[in-house]
Symmetry: C2
Subunit: 347 residues, 2 copies
DNA sequence: CACGAGTGACAAAGCGTTTTTGCAACTGCT
DNA sequence: AGCAGTTGCAAAAACGCTTTGTCACTCGTG
């Protein structure tokens, strides 16, 4: 009574039936633009919010979409380990909520399939899909709408036909390398995780192309996993090599932090003798021993757009472009800028 | 047809009406235990999952609960800044989902009220409520069920009558101080944020009591806010004072990290000349220049229990104890353990 | 042996939407 | 004038569950 205003209240106020209100608000049915507008305006004025449960129930949806990070069991890391994921999840959640969907961020556990089984999903966002991911296969077999973040690399056709949001990794790579060259680096090494996600391939390609264009020697080292120790090892192998690099670009913040530690144990000054940069901005990167120059990936936008694209799909609207590239942004910091010595010693 | 099994299928399989199934599964109505059991078993065997939307629609619920961090505008930090919140949110979300509720983690913005207005909430979890929080007032005025994490300190009666989950801060404080004393500290200082949450008062009290019992001098410094620079300043004022402490217990990881930096600029060795510990375990604490001994608060359990308590409330079940204290756990690390010098230099 | 008081179970009425179907009232064309 | 085709809207049927009201049946009791 006094509480929430429903579709009936709007109908009454507009002097039409609830059918008309529903049609007007959802762009369905045959209504003259004038009526549509009028109803919309009235609904707006009354502050009408459709009841999500009723809407989903009637629409045959569950109103639940999931987000999960695709990954190989060996590399198991927890969702939320990275600021990147935290931001992405947060914005995806908000965007979904605004459209009447709840988003569940599923922890990447081995038996994801089990989890999916028990969850009535309308769709899913899969972050950084890797080949052989069983949850992806399961979702596909269920014909559940999927949007990936990063391109799927397992099914060849999928890259063309699937729906995804991705960063402009190649261009981003170029901007980092250009920056490093600008501040004086001449032997730039790249540390990549041995991880079959599309971004790794993109970064490698961007690096190779850039090197080719400048006739620079390629120095690529693969990191064992995605942690500091792996970055530490990778950087050590570079620094102890015959012709050590004067810049290291690590594909992940944690790898770069490992690289910083490696430099310190070898008594190599950053950024004096070695410049270090990484991809993915984070708290850890900002507060590293030497604040790290990073290539920000804009996970906020990725999360938001992925959620919206997925919900379009769920609602039967073909997303206009099936793919979208999100620009990256270089954030230069002390680790590459010689600058004044800043009084900061710890994390 | 082929797809999901609904209440009707269970009813058919059990040879009863859907009413009976509903009653059996929800513990309502008058049914002999035998029937109840039988229906439950069959539902289980069939893998029946009630449709969340239908359930909520019929039950007059919205199925949405929110989680928000109470805070003073000046101290605005983003949700997810702290590992603590990330864990808490994650576990609360999962617990809510398991009971058919979606949990929205609301960003703590100034006009929270506006957000709440537009969200059909069944209940809310408010983390670390502070006096004068407008969203809390709003929720209370709407008679929305609330569970707080940390005790509410604004309405005197609320502390008794409200529903909350809290840490055993006093005992935790004792365990940290005992540990510091054990490793040789004699002049232990406490850095607290000037922040009117209950945990701050608890920590102060625990500290004061402990000092009184041992006839130690109290050294409490208030930090300007919750960031590294604030911890830096606070620690500096201690270290530059007449009788500098030989141990600093900071109430937050970021404050402790600031303290580490302060020690370094003064050339004070940690843990040799100064032991540092903090509350709230986090990535930053583990990977600080000197890995920090921390008092883990177990946000996972807090989040889970808060969600369950809230949903009990929403479903009209009076939570058995209205309050629950979650134990803390001391995690000793290098910053207080003299031990061998570990080769770690950076974040 | 009639009668109220329990039991056990069900039919049916919502819950607030979307969607399908139907039905007038127009239009324009022969 | 007659008829198909369009246009503008509404009534009603889902959607899958919870809840209410009620019926039938079994006891103990007076």
């Amino acid at each position: 009574m006094s509480g929430k205003i429903g579709i009936k209240d709007v109908a009454a106020a507009a002097g039409v039936s609830i059918t008309t209100v529903s049609h007007a608000l959802n762009g369905k049915g045959r209504l003259p633009t004038e009526t549509r507008e009028r109803v919309r305006e009235i609904a707006d004025r009354l502050g009408y919010r459709p009841n999500v449960n009723a809407r989903n129930l009637a629409g045959g949806r569950t109103g639940l979409v999931a987000l999960t990070v695709s990954q190989e069991p060996e590399l198991a890391f927890q969702l939320g380990d990275f600021d990147y994921f935290a931001s992405l999840i947060r914005y995806a959640t908000t965007a979904a909520l605004a459209r009447g969907f709840a988003l569940a961020a599923l922890p990447p556990v081995a038996d994801n399939e089990d989890v999916f089984h028990h969850l009535p999903l309308d769709g899913a966002i899969v972050v950084d899909p890797v080949p052989g991911d069983r949850s992806l296969d399961y979702l596909r077999s269920q014909r559940t709408p999927i949007v990936t973040t990063g391109r799927p690399v397992d099914v060849a056709a999928e890259e063309e036909e699937g729906y995804w949001i991705d960063n402009e990794h190649i261009e981003g790579m170029r901007s980092v390398l250009d920056h490093l060259a600008e501040v004086g680096a001449e032997r730039i090494a790249l540390v990549l995780p041995s991880y079959p996600a599309s971004y790794v391939a993109d970064m490698r390609r961007g690096y190779v192309e850039w090197c080719a264009a400048r006739a620079c020697e390629e120095r690529i080292v693969m990191a064992r996993d995605l942690t500091e120790p792996a970055g530490f090892e990778a950087a050590r192998s570079l620094l102890d090599g015959p012709e050590p690099p004067d810049a290291i670009y690590a594909s992940l913040d944690r790898l770069a932090i490992g690289a910083l530690m490696a430099a310190e144990t070898r008594g190599i000054e950053v950024p004096g003798a070695l410049r270090v940069a990484c991809c993915t901005d984070s708290y850890a990167a900002r507060h590293a021993a030497t604040p790290l120059t990073t290539l920000a990936l804009n996970p906020e936008q990725i999360g938001e757009e992925a959620a919206n694209m997925l919900i379009d799909l769920v609602e039967g609207v073909e997303p206009r472009p099936r793919h979208r590239f999100i620009p990256t942004k270089l954030l230069p910091r002390e680790s590459t800028l010689g600058g004044t010595a800043v009084a900061t010693g710890a994390a």
